[in-house]
């Protein structure tokens, strides 16, 4: 939220919040339909009771909470919906409690689909997918991790296994075949 400084007559100096009116140009009435297309249930059934926010394990850490996001979806306020949903762990607690039988978690997944297609991709997703193609797992192998595993009495992850290379190649083939690399924009990184 931007701030503007303003000096009033008489010298009173105040920091004020930037004027912000949501006008129709920011609204997209077809947005709920788009969400349905990507597998979300009809967001228009939401009654804004706030149960989803209350049960959400991450809600205290984010500005735009589950209920807000669903409300923005109803209005088609894309600006607010396509930035924050990656923190959702899709634990489905919101779905379990929703009295309107809406599935906020699946709405979040649908929003990710839409965001990716609009080119809004958080860097960590690119990193994770690149790791997946290169190493067969979304977290890059690190000697530090091996050390901790050893301390905990756990064995190696198994990347040295002779079959593992084959698995990595298979993942690469799948990702390229589904054009997922193109969608996420990591063709350069995963070029073989």
């Amino acid at each position: 939220m931007g701030e503007v400084e303003k000096t009033f007559i008489g010298g009173l100096h105040e920091k004020l919040i930037e004027e912000k009116v949501i006008d129709e140009s920011q609204l997209d009435p077809d947005f709920p339909k788009l969400i349905r297309k990507y597998g979300g249930k009809d967001v228009m059934t939401c009654l804004q009771c706030g149960n989803c926010t209350g049960v959400c394990p991450i809600s205290l850490k984010i500005d735009y909470k589950t209920r807000n996001i669903i409300k923005c979806c109803q209005f088609g306020l894309k600006k607010y919906t396509l930035g924050t949903r990656w923190v959702c762990a899709t634990c489905y607690r919101c779905y379990e409690h929703c009295p309107a039988d809406l599935n906020p978690a699946e709405v979040m997944i649908a929003l990710r689909h839409i965001a990716v297609r609009e080119g809004i991709i958080p860097p960590f997703i690119k990193t994770a997918v690149t790791n997946l193609v290169k190493y067969g797992q979304s977290v890059k192998p690190d000697p530090e991790i091996d050390k901790i595993r050893k301390e905990l009495g756990l064995g190696n992850i198994g990347v040295e296994h002779p079959e593992f290379g084959k698995v990595i190649r298979e993942i690469g083939v799948l990702i390229r075949a589904t054009k997922y690399d193109k969608l996420i924009g990591i063709q350069e990184e995963v070029k073989t």
Partner: protein
């Protein structure tokens, strides 16, 4: 069955009443209704009328903005007189809505009212095809072509009159049933009231005060209960169940099981000596488990009838064969452990169903932990705790330790407006009873902090909004807009912590309360489901009984002579229940005042020459109308008791011999409709006129 002798002669040989010599072609008039823009907005009525004019036998075709209006009906009457038409086809709305209107109209013009056929071009055409105007017009034309073909085959019928027994049965002794019974009794009719519990009074007797005025519930109900028991026109059958209902409007035969109280009602004076000596104490259902009663008991002090009842499940005598302390204590010899259930057969003309509701019990695995935490209670339990004649004498205490709660929370919409549990409807009373109870708690203990967790506050009735404002302004009750997500109990203090999003603040709140009240919704009662099956009543998607028309016939059911009142029809508050009960009483009184009722002649009859007496119709009929009798030319033949027949057509459709004919839906009439539809379809595709096989 003491059914009035069906007027076989008039109805089964309709041609005797037909007004035409069989050789003359029928003269048909078609009237196309615009229904404002309901039909004309989609269907091109002018085109339809022009097409209709060219159909065979059609003498005149007209359009009207509203055919059901005076002007429209005048036009039909004028056409009948001017053009000498003898069959009328009205293409308009559903016959359910206006068939009676038009039947009366053509009867005024001197035609037999059953020489009318209605074609539904609104519900079945314009409304469902609003996006395809061209095709809708085509379909309307086809439907009218079929209607004209059927109209040509219509036969004159005579309506029957059946006598109506001036006695009514009211099922359910809650406030709605009590009001309906009193109204009917005051009009001079005999009334039987059947109540399954030991006392009448229903749920209202359990409440503390009523919103929005704060009248004490039992104080305003008890006089009505007493009035009912003293009214000589009313026979109260308490602790009884309706077992079977046979018959039809005017003469229903009802079998009532009078469950045994093991106490002679005529001898018991309600002194209570028996209960004083009874050694068994069990939870009192009336107090929802907070108070206790003996094994011989009255549920509450104001019970009507004030007769004691032995709870067989808990009585020592029925377990061990010993005790009988109550028998020794009774100075009137009223108690008899060997009494048995009694069956009472009664005959009534009309039935009012007022079977009420059950309060929702929060499910075991729900987040609100009703089963787990002592200090989470339902609203009905709160009513008992606040009630002066309740288990605590009207002092609100926490169930966990008996202390007065300092902080109380209400959670709204528990069991209502929830698609997850299938209760999509609003229970209508929870907002107001929570507000009312908040006020009562504040009056008892002004320092109590009260918060109400709500989604929407529905304060729609007279004086409701004013109470809502008062509770915010005068009593400082806090309203938190949000559905609580989690309740957790402090193991030491047993206080309940509520986590919820305050949606208007966009923040998650966690607050601790001494007592949490779940504002539970209303469900159709278990008894309603049973009675619904016995009476073949239909239910709405919410499970409550369906009224015959949501606006115009709010207390009627699809079954003639059976009316509904109170929460059996849907959640409602006390004034609405009373209003509906009065409406049901007046609707039930109408045929009883007239002592007779006109019954449609659209029934089935059997052609004895074809009937082989296989009795398939007897098995299939949902109303028990067909019976097997000795045929006039010998052999066992089916015969339809017309008074029981609803004209559903099941028997006619299933008869392997085609011996059963449903009037106004004869095979000939239906096939002529089909032919009109199919033949035109073929010729339109350029093929030869098809021979439609009618067999």
């Amino acid at each position: 069955m003491t059914a009035p002798a069906p007027q076989e002669k008039d109805t089964s040989s309709p041609k005797s009443k037909g007004e035409l010599p069989s050789t003359a072609r029928p003269r048909i008039g078609v009237f196309v209704c615009h229904c404002g823009s309901n039909i004309a907005g989609v269907v091109n009525c002018g085109e339809v009328r022009t097409a209709a004019e060219k159909f065979g036998d059609v003498v005149v075709a007209k359009e009207n903005k509203y055919t059901c209006s005076d002007v429209g009906q005048e036009e039909i009457i004028k056409a009948i007189k001017e053009h000498k038409i003898d069959r009328v086809v009205v293409a308009a709305c559903s016959p359910r809505l206006h068939e009676p209107t038009f039947r009366k109209c053509i009867q005024q013009a001197g035609l037999n009212p059953y020489l009318l056929h209605m074609v539904n071009i609104r519900e079945q055409c314009s409304w469902v095809h609003s996006h395809e105007k061209g095709k809708a017009t085509e379909k309307a034309t086809s439907l009218i072509r079929m209607g004209v073909a059927k109209a040509a085959k219509l036969e004159a019928l005579e309506a029957r009159e059946v006598p109506v027994e001036p006695t009514s049965l009211v099922i359910g002794g809650g406030v709605a049933g009590i009001q309906a019974a009193l109204d009917l009794a005051n009009m001079g009719f005999k009334v039987y009231m059947v109540e399954s519990q030991p006392s009448i009074g229903g749920k209202m007797a359990q409440l503390d005060k009523t919103f929005p005025t704060g009248d004490c519930a039992i104080c305003i109900l008890a006089p009505k209960m007493v009035e009912l028991s003293r009214n000589t026109n009313i026979t109260l059958l308490s602790y009884s169940e309706v077992e079977e209902v046979k018959g039809y409007i005017g003469s229903y035969e009802v079998k009532v099981r009078r469950k045994t109280r093991f106490v002679h009602e005529d001898k018991c004076v309600g002194c209570g000596l028996c209960a004083e000596v009874c050694p068994i104490k069990v939870d009192n259902e009336f107090d929802l488990g907070f108070g206790q009663r003996r094994a011989i008991y009255v549920p509450f002090p104001q019970a009507v009838p004030l007769k004691y009842t032995i709870d067989k499940e808990h009585c020592t005598y029925f377990k061990t064969g010993k005790c009988l302390l109550c028998v020794k204590a009774c100075s009137n010899d009223a108690i008899d452990h060997k009494m048995e259930d009694e069956i009472v057969n009664i005959k009534v003309g009309t039935i009012i169903v007022a079977t009420g509701y059950d309060a929702y019990v929060p499910m075991k695995k729900g987040v609100y932990r009703y089963w787990e935490y002592d200090n989470v209670i339902t609203a009905l339990e709160l009513e008992r705790l606040l009630n002066a004649s309740g288990p605590t004498g009207g002092h609100l205490i926490r169930p966990s330790d008996g202390q007065v709660p300092k902080k109380v929370a209400f959670i709204q919409c528990v069991g209502s407006r929830n698609k997850k549990i299938g209760n999509n409807y609003c229970s209508r009373v929870c907002c107001m009873y929570a507000i009312k109870n908040a006020q009562i708690i504040k009056e008892h203990e002004p320092d109590t902090e009260i918060a109400i967790y709500y989604n929407d506050i529905r304060a729609f009735g007279k004086g409701f909004e004013e109470l809502y404002h008062r509770i915010r302004e005068e009593y400082q009750v806090e309203f938190i807009r949000g559905r609580p997500a989690k309740l957790s109990q402090n193991p030491q203090t047993k206080a309940i912590k509520i986590r919820a999003e305050e949606t208007l603040l966009n923040a998650i709140t966690e607050r601790e309360f001494d007592l949490v009240v779940l504002s539970t919704g209303l469900l159709p009662s278990e008894g309603s489901k049973r009675i619904g099956k016995i009476l073949s009543l239909t239910t709405s998607p919410d499970g409550f009984f369906a009224e015959a028309h949501p606006k115009l016939r709010p207390v009627d059911t699809a079954m003639d002579g059976i009316f509904i009142a109170g929460c059996a029809q849907g959640p409602k508050d006390i004034p609405d229940s009373i209003a509906q009960a009065k409406a049901a009483a007046s609707s039930a009184a109408a045929p009883m005042f007239a002592r007779k009722v006109t019954v449609e002649p659209l029934t089935a009859f059997v052609n004895e020459d074809l009937c082989t007496g296989c009795a398939l119709c007897m098995e299939l009929c949902p109303y028990g109308a067909p019976e097997m009798v000795q045929g006039s030319k010998g052999g066992t033949k089916a015969h339809v008791i017309e008074a029981l027949c609803h004209g559903c057509g099941t028997c006619a459709a299933s008869c392997p011999q085609k011996a059963i004919i449903t009037r106004q839906f004869t095979d000939e009439q239906i096939y002529s409709e089909l032919q009109a539809a199919l033949v035109h379809g073929k010729s339109a595709s350029g093929k030869k006129r098809a021979e439609v096989e009618v067999s």
